[in-house]
Symmetry: C2
Subunit: 187 residues, 2 copies
């Protein structure tokens, strides 16, 4: 906690409320009734982007994270930065037929339909400690599918991190109580 | 140069040849005759990933980069990490109909067919200094289209960086002599 307090003082002005305010709400996107949270207005601001990376990496520093796994494609942006900051390798989970080598695949239901995601079979070694990152925790369908992919590797630990969590969709329940989940901003 | 030499000494063991050796070649992917360069085997290794980010950011440190623009989706991985390292904001260039707000769009020919890419109209302010990053410089079609998108913002300067450049495809010529281009690994 001491380290995080110090970081906050060094940031001087940025708070989680500033991050929240920097996220653009797009009504009825991609479908009527959906309030889409657009993070591009947040991460284009160096102070906000920097604040997010420092806050998230401070949470996971010292936990022995060896791989940050980011979910295509918005999960790549902070995922790559977090891997760099934590001294970990980066592994992409991608849409179907995007990864060129042998891969595990899983189908799942998502907020707006059905989809599948994949990971390379040689991406992770048994016993690694993984930080799974995506920009958004909504219904939890994508995260659950990603965890299914990661189970192939018998990791020692998996942490989940999101920038935004839509609390009213109860994604946390879908992911399950077994996992350590953090989200920076809640709606 | 002094700073880069020092970095290399601190890295101790990693060289560009190590990076090159860590890239997996996938023959006949996605089409017969194409030698696909798979970077996942490079960036999953913390030392290689770290080396790439430190080497690239050392080149652009002190040039006043205010935005790193990454091209979807592999350009997001190091793009995000470089923005963080350089204290810049991050801006995504995305495939059609992925960005939710008002956007510029451009069609272009690419190695395996035709495509278009887009950027938010409010992504960049006039006079900014941009580092455009993608994983691969092949025919240069995507980069040229990205530069066309960026021209809408009247930036003060644009630098281009790639992890891999396929020299025999002459992408540099397509991009043009007006630009400062760097690539870490050449095939």
């Amino acid at each position: 906690m001491q380290a995080r307090k110090k970081d906050k003082m060094e940031e001087n002005i940025i708070t989680i409320e500033d991050v929240k305010a920097s996220i653009r709400n797009i009504p009825d996107y991609p479908k009527k009734g959906i309030q889409f949270k657009d993070l591009t207005t947040a991460i284009k601001q160096p102070e906000i982007f920097h604040f997010l990376i420092e806050e998230i990496s401070a949470m996971y520093m010292g936990r022995g994270i060896t791989k940050v796994v980011g979910i295509e494609s918005r999960g790549f942006i902070l995922g790559g930065a977090l891997a760099a900051r934590l001294g970990a390798g980066f592994v992409p989970i991608r849409k179907p037929n995007k990864l060129p080598a042998e891969r595990y695949s899983v189908n799942y239901m998502l907020e707006y339909g059905e989809d599948s995601i994949e990971i390379h079979k040689d991406a992770i070694e048994p016993g690694e400690i993984i930080l799974l990152h995506d920009d958004l925790l909504a219904t939890g369908g994508t995260s659950k599918a990603a965890l299914e992919l990661l189970s192939h590797f018998n990791p020692e630990d998996i942490y989940l991190n999101f920038i935004v969590e839509l609390n009213f969709l109860n994604g946390r329940k879908v992911v399950g109580d077994d996992y350590d989940i953090s989200s920076m901003v809640h709606f």
